[in-house]
Point group: C2
Chain length 140, copies 2
DNA sequence: TTCATTTTTGTAATCATTTTAAATAATTCA
DNA sequence: TGAATTATTTAAAATGATTACAAAAATGAA
């Protein structure tokens, strides 16, 4: 938790109790949670936590590059404390979001970083959809 | 318009007046429109058109692979009548969505098509964000 | 035409997110 | 220290996109 404090500080984020709890949650849950999921999980720890704080904080984290805001899910935004370049896969049966760390991806990302034609690039999101192993097996 | 009828039919979609008008709109407006934009544009042509029909139809088009449902915009879903593999770029200043047809992209897409590890892939969406040329120049 | 099926429509409901303004906490510096 | 300023959090209300639902209209086969 002391690490989290330093991590936030070093990224220009004042480490309030709420912010540390939210960052901790993101760093320890690689499930690409929704706002609702984070809220439900943190309520026991921070009984007065409001959704507005959650939204504000996640926006701040995204601006300061300590979290990714994922648009892979058509219903709701998901968040990721892992900011290393990687792609995602969402299972259309169970909704789970999986990480995809492939060698070619960072390459592709850096390849296009900064500019494509006259467009100034600042970020990229690569999202796959399909059926995960668990759900595939269930069908048999 | 006769072409549109055949296009829909050949993809197993019954070509109603509404469906043809919506498909025509998507094919002739490569702007990645929102539901709202499509609705406003078509209302003069189809005065009784309902939003529900629009949502149903766009979902159907997406299922039948004659349109893409894009999640690049965090506020609203956008649609694309161009189903050839390509990536998108959204300007964070003006909100416009641009097409990116790069040689490497179809490669990457086909590379990962079908499977990554044990995940069964059915589609991929590649989304860049940044500032477009127009907005970049305005700032100077 | 008759009956069944498909499609469209309008309304209401839902749900994620944003707005707003007040309350609380932290920081500054006289 | 302690009053003033600034930053953060909170709760409630508003917004906006999407979905659910049930009735009406259109289509198509028998
Ligand atoms: Mn991830
Ligand atoms: Mn496109
Ligand atoms: Zn699954
Ligand atoms: Zn722009």
């Amino acid at each position: 938790m002391e690490q989290t404090k330093d991590y936030l500080s070093s990224h220009g984020i004042r480490p309030s109790a709420q912010r540390m709890a939210i960052m901790d949650y993101l760093l320890s849950h690689k499930t690409h949670p929704t706002v609702e999921e984070i809220y439900t999980a943190l309520l026991p720890l921070l009984p007065t936590l409001s959704k507005t704080t959650l939204y504000n904080t996640l926006k701040l984290f995204s601006d300061k590059k300590v979290a990714l805001m994922l648009n892979i899910d058509e219903h709701t935004t998901r968040f990721d404390g892992d900011v290393k370049p990687h792609a995602h896969f969402q299972c259309q049966v169970c909704g789970r979001v999986y990480d995809i760390f492939q060698e070619e991806l960072p390459e592709l990302v850096s390849l296009y970083k900064q500019q494509i034609g006259k467009l100034l690039i600042s970020s990229v999101e690569i999202s796959y959809k399909g059926v995960c192993e668990m759900c595939k097996n269930k069908k048999d």
